[in-house]
């Protein structure tokens, strides 16, 4: 389960990523690396900036400063300029970096898929449609051919792929259910299935075990490992359940008040004094 011994392929590389909202620095100079096939966790107390970091990777936010590389290609990079420079609280590195912007849909097309902290399914649509929509962007068709049903083969392919995916995820018997009517645990599973349907290389999971009991959490642990192996994924996740994080992660990054305070293997993190301090200082329950 450890990272490959030979030179690993770098999937995600974040460099000095800073996200500032007015005077609040949500993420402050975050640098990290995720290599192919790894399961990497990003942990930290509430409000540490974990989800903001995710949003900087998927293009929902445009980082105030820093750059994000995916599979060796820079997908986002920014440098404070003009008005932004006056309010920018961090240190400006002397080397200028080009401004590169990508909308979230382009980043998904490049192969980054994500789930959301508070589940965002297409609530009023069926389970099947939810997965089918994820297949839309890779289909070769246009409005006219789709309307006049000239895309018959493509539509068939999308449907059979979606069916196969639902079957693999044990959701096939629910395919005609309305997504919002599913129980919470299944909604989480569907959201992961939908993310897998975009055919990603990197899967970002934002608190996949939120609201789950210990048994469900254990199932999720096996599930994440299993999809990593079946779909040759790299997994980068935010999680609060320490059992899950310690069991599954190859490496862990710890964020507190937007800053990286520790990184290393699960054992190293468990014995890191700064991490214990950060958690105890905020909350007396390390699992929340």
């Amino acid at each position: 389960m450890s990272a490959e011994a030979k030179t690993p392929i770098n999937v995600l590389h974040m460099e000095d990523v800073t996200m500032q909202f007015g005077g609040v620095v949500a993420v402050n100079g975050l640098s990290l690396d995720v290599n192919e096939g790894e399961i990497v966790a990003l942990i930290g107390p509430n409000g540490a900036g974990k989800t903001t970091a995710f949003n900087c990777v998927t293009g929902i936010y445009e980082p105030t400063f820093g750059k994000v590389d995916f599979m060796g290609e820079t997908i986002l990079s920014n440098t404070p300029k003009g008005k932004a420079e006056k309010t920018y609280l961090g240190e400006v590195t002397p080397r200028p970096i080009p401004v590169i912007r990508n909308t979230p849909d382009k980043i998904t097309q490049k192969g980054v898929a994500r789930t959301f902290q508070n589940i965002r399914l297409f609530g009023q649509l069926t389970v099947f449609d939810n997965v089918l929509i994820a297949k839309h962007m890779r289909a070769k068709q246009n409005v006219l051919s789709a309307t006049l049903r000239f895309n018959h083969k493509e539509e068939e392919r999308m449907r059979s792929e979606a069916m196969a995916l639902l079957e693999e995820q044990n959701l096939l018997h629910l395919k005609d259910e309305i997504a919002a009517s599913l129980p919470y645990g299944l909604q989480r599973r569907l959201e992961i299935a939908r993310a897998l349907a975009t055919e990603p290389k990197l899967l970002l999971l934002d608190e996949p075990a939120a609201g789950m009991n210990p048994q469900e959490t254990q199932e999720l642990t096996d599930f994440i490992k299993q999809i990593r192996d079946t779909y040759h994924l790299t997994v980068f996740m935010i999680e609060h359940h320490m059992d899950l994080v310690m069991q599954i992660s190859d490496r862990i990054y710890v964020l507190d008040f937007g800053k990286l305070i520790a990184q290393g293997t699960p054992e190293e993190i468990q014995n890191n004094e700064r991490v214990i301090e950060a958690y105890l200082g905020v909350s007396d329950d390390a699992e929340d």
């Binding site: 649509l125 839309h136 309307t147 049903r149 493509e154």
Partner: protein, 367 residues
């Protein structure tokens, strides 16, 4: 079992279609006698096209636009300018004369309708760039504004030689027969239904459900909003063109904001997100206004004049009925469901214990 049910439904649909064609044939044969009914039905069918196109935007893509009247005006004027017989143009443009560029421009009505759709789609594409950055109510207000601008431009005296300004255009050739009118409306609605049920229709629905999640599925927000807006405006433009052919004479007042409200009323009444709902709504609203003319005539029972029965009273009754429908069917007649024979069968069977069912669905709504 399932296959059998499908073929049974197809049989029902075929019978219903033949029935409709039969009625149309009967009306066509006696068109002089039934001209009043025919005119109501034609107007309903045209409103149905525009209502479905509005529903495509509001109900399926989640974009609340109030620009329908403006795009209908573009379509109507395009068709009018392209189809008025060349020899009667002098009498139509009697004020300032006609611009030489369009004086001899004439084409068959089907080509004119397609051009009408394309022209209003092109205008929509331009308007969409700034406007579609807005959301919900703000989008509605912005499109409403553009709709009024379009109307103002059309009626501007500077354009007298093209649109005949505030004098309107007349002598537009009528539909050759009923089947053409209904066939064109049916074709437009069919195309929109096919779009809604295609992969792109699913993408539009995804946008309606959750924009952030739709982006995470690789859908470009702006591109798909613009696409829905342009396609909807295309069919709205065609609908406007059909209305011009139906009315035979148009002026810019026809396309005031009231027309948009009529269409909005049909969409809301039929059910936001239901094509069949919009079609049913179009016929109910258009025909309902006419049926209620009874209330406009003075009524005397037993020598006593009932005081309320006078011209305009039908609109009071109409509004009360509307309120009743909205109160009892909060999500419109069809909600977001589509018509199906099974649904009709269920409805008929459930009439005896309807009260029970109602309390159940209300619970379902709250959940």
């Amino acid at each position: 079992m399932k296959k059998k049910a499908i073929s049974k439904n197809k049989l029902y649909s075929l019978i219903a279609l033949l029935f409709v064609i039969g009625i149309l044939g009967m009306l066509q044969a006696n068109s002089a006698q039934y001209s009043y009914q025919i005119s109501i039905l034609e107007r309903s069918a045209i409103y149905a096209v525009v209502a479905v196109s509005m529903n495509l935007l509001t109900g399926f893509t989640g974009l609340f636009s109030l620009g329908q009247a403006g795009f209908m005006a573009i379509g109507a004027y395009t068709v009018a300018i392209l189809t008025i017989p060349a020899d009667t143009r002098a009498s139509v443009y009697y004020v300032d004369g006609i611009a030489p560029a369009i004086a001899n421009l004439q084409c068959p009505f089907w080509l004119a309708l397609i051009l009408a759709g394309l022209f209003s789609a092109a205008i929509a594409a331009i308007i969409g760039i700034p406007v579609l950055r807005l959301k919900s109510d703000y989008l509605a207000i912005a499109t409403l504004g553009f709709s009024e601008i379009i109307r103002a431009v059309i009626s501007a005296p500077q354009l007298n030689k093209i649109t005949n300004g505030s004098y309107g255009l007349k002598n537009i050739p009528a539909f050759p027969n009923l089947f053409v009118a209904f066939g064109l409306c049916g074709l437009c609605i069919l195309l929109m239904v096919l779009l809604i049920n295609s992969s792109y229709g699913r993408a539009f629905k995804a946008l309606r459900e959750d924009e952030v999640a739709a982006q995470a599925m690789g859908l470009n927000l702006f591109r798909y909003k613009e696409l829905a807006f342009v396609i909807s405006s295309f069919f709205t433009g065609v609908g406007g063109g059909l209305l011009a052919i139906y009315m035979r004479s148009i002026d810019s007042k026809t396309f005031s904001i009231n027309l948009t409200y009529d269409i909005l009323l049909i969409v809301v009444l039929g059910g936001i997100g239901s094509v069949t709902g919009s079609v049913i709504g179009a016929f109910l609203v258009t025909a309902g206004r006419e049926w209620l003319r009874f209330f406009d005539n003075p009524l005397t029972i037993g020598g006593i004049d009932i005081p309320l029965f006078r011209s305009g009273f039908r609109m009071v009754i109409f509004s009360i009925l509307l309120m009743a429908v909205v109160l009892f069917y909060r999500r419109g007649i069809m909600g977001s469901n589509e018509f199906s024979w099974e649904g009709l069968g269920r409805l008929i069977r459930s009439i005896p214990n309807k009260l029970k069912r109602k309390s159940k669905t209300q619970k379902g709504d709250n959940a």
